[in-house]
Symmetry: C2
Subunit: 254 residues, 2 copies
DNA sequence: GCAAAAGTGTTCCAGTTACACCCATGT
DNA sequence: ACATGGGTGTAACTGGAACACTTTTGC
């Protein structure tokens, strides 16, 4: 099968087996090297990027479809994954321009519906555990810095903006730290995450006092060595206490 | 046209002109007589109730469709209306049971899609300004107390539960008071609203101090007379300051 | 030894909570 | 007159914000 045949077969399959006119897109956040990242796909033979997304089988739960997409792109299961907005404008983007930038064959114009609404999900994942995996529509799947995004297809730039806004709002109420950090991490690293999401510096003493005061962290008998300076302690989350603190609404950072 | 003919014509029109397999439902909140209310429809010739809902035309924005539904049932425009959850489970409710309870003619079984996902919206309206208006599928459209809901079709009971949970979470950040209260109201009335939504009593002195301290209320030279006791002052919202306080994140009630 | 990051405690202020009495009104 | 809800102030407490110095490490 040529790429074009593959493409047409895929969209025909979607048209017959999936809910028509509805898609979903995942904004997958990771944190690495003091930067907040999102996982993006580069469309085959182009320099155009898009969010990992997909369609919903006629008898499939929408949340399950999002998990499926996420699993295919990251290799991970049981992720923190949440709906954040339905993008349902009558005209979300310039469809002809998008198809042209995607280098889609004209044949597809008849197969794709005129207008699609998309459910936005955001996911928080441990950067170190992800194996970014491209799909057959894409040349590559890579982490991109949210503050330095490439040219995006569709309205995916706006979708990322809304996801970021939601992330900031929910930082205080959701287990953001738990899901974005690796197993073991230092308090300054966690602080960098909070600073990155909130977009402003935090006082190290207050941060330390507060985060340890919640008793959701356990200090390990290990330090992160190899840095040029004093070795910080490694911690890991105490998931049980973390859940408790969330339920009690104690996790508030301002 | 008989009712059955009308019904079939409607669902055929929906099948041809609307996005198939997708609907929206509105949880319309009002506040009256110290009770939080939702607007419900009683299905024709039955004792079964449902939320006002509808379908999305193929070239219509989903938000616009929600506004349309809301306008048709309340007569109001420019309402506080917000997405809160996409209900997308593979099996949301027992479809045969529901059709039976709705007394739908068997003819419809072929027209309606097997499975529908629905976008949940919630609206906050001024009870006194609403003219509840039934549609042709319903015998009546009335306000029901959220703590005393009748037998509901579909998964609408769960949808209301999720809407209520969202309302409680957003009480501190959204202009709940502004949208649920009439033009003029007293502070004790507003306190009843907050108490009702939060589900617990608040201290009158602290509430008064706090709400007036935000300078989002203007005291009028009028009092509410006719009550059996001391006449409370009437207030109205200062919308400009209200917006400011929201932006600054000052509107927090705990 | 030196530059840079990690670790730690105290004080101050603001905002929340708890609490009691007098006033106005309709019955 | 009286019962009921409306209106108001103060004191204690809690949690967040501001702030500086010592320790450790690799270079």
């Amino acid at each position: 099968m040529t790429y074009t045949e593959h493409l047409i077969a895929y969209y025909k399959k979607v048209a017959s087996e999936c809910i028509s006119g509805v898609s979903l897109d995942c904004v997958i956040f990771g944190f690495h090297d003091t930067k907040l990242k999102v996982l993006l796909l580069r469309w085959k033979d182009t320099k155009e990027w898009s969010l990992p997304g997909g369609f919903i089988y006629k008898a499939e739960s929408v949340d399950a479809a999002a998990e499926r997409v996420l699993h295919e792109r990251t290799g991970l299961n049981q992720l923190f994954l949440q709906q954040f907005h339905l993008f349902g404008d009558a005209v979300r983007y310039d469809q002809n321009d998008t198809l042209r930038r995607q280098k889609m064959p004209d044949l597809l114009f008849g197969i794709c519906p005129d207008r699609t609404i998309t459910m936005g999900y955001y996911a928080l994942v441990d950067y170190t555990k992800v194996t970014p995996t491209a799909d057959f529509l894409s040349d590559e799947c890579v982490w991109c810095d949210v503050s330095d995004l490439p040219s995006m297809l569709y309205d995916h730039r706006q979708i990322i903006d809304v996801a970021l806004k939601t992330l900031r709002l929910q930082l205080n109420w959701q287990p953001i730290g738990l899901n974005l950090m690796p197993e073991k991490f230092t308090i300054p690293e966690l602080q960098r995450l909070y600073e990155t999401v909130l977009g402003r510096p935090l006082d190290a003493r207050n941060f330390h006092k507060k985060i340890t005061g919640l008793s959701i962290l356990t200090r390990l008998n290990e330090r992160r060595t190899g840095g040029a300076h004093k070795s910080p302690y490694l911690y890991h989350f105490d998931r049980v206490n973390y859940e408790k603190a969330l339920i009690n609404g104690n996790l508030i950072f301002v």
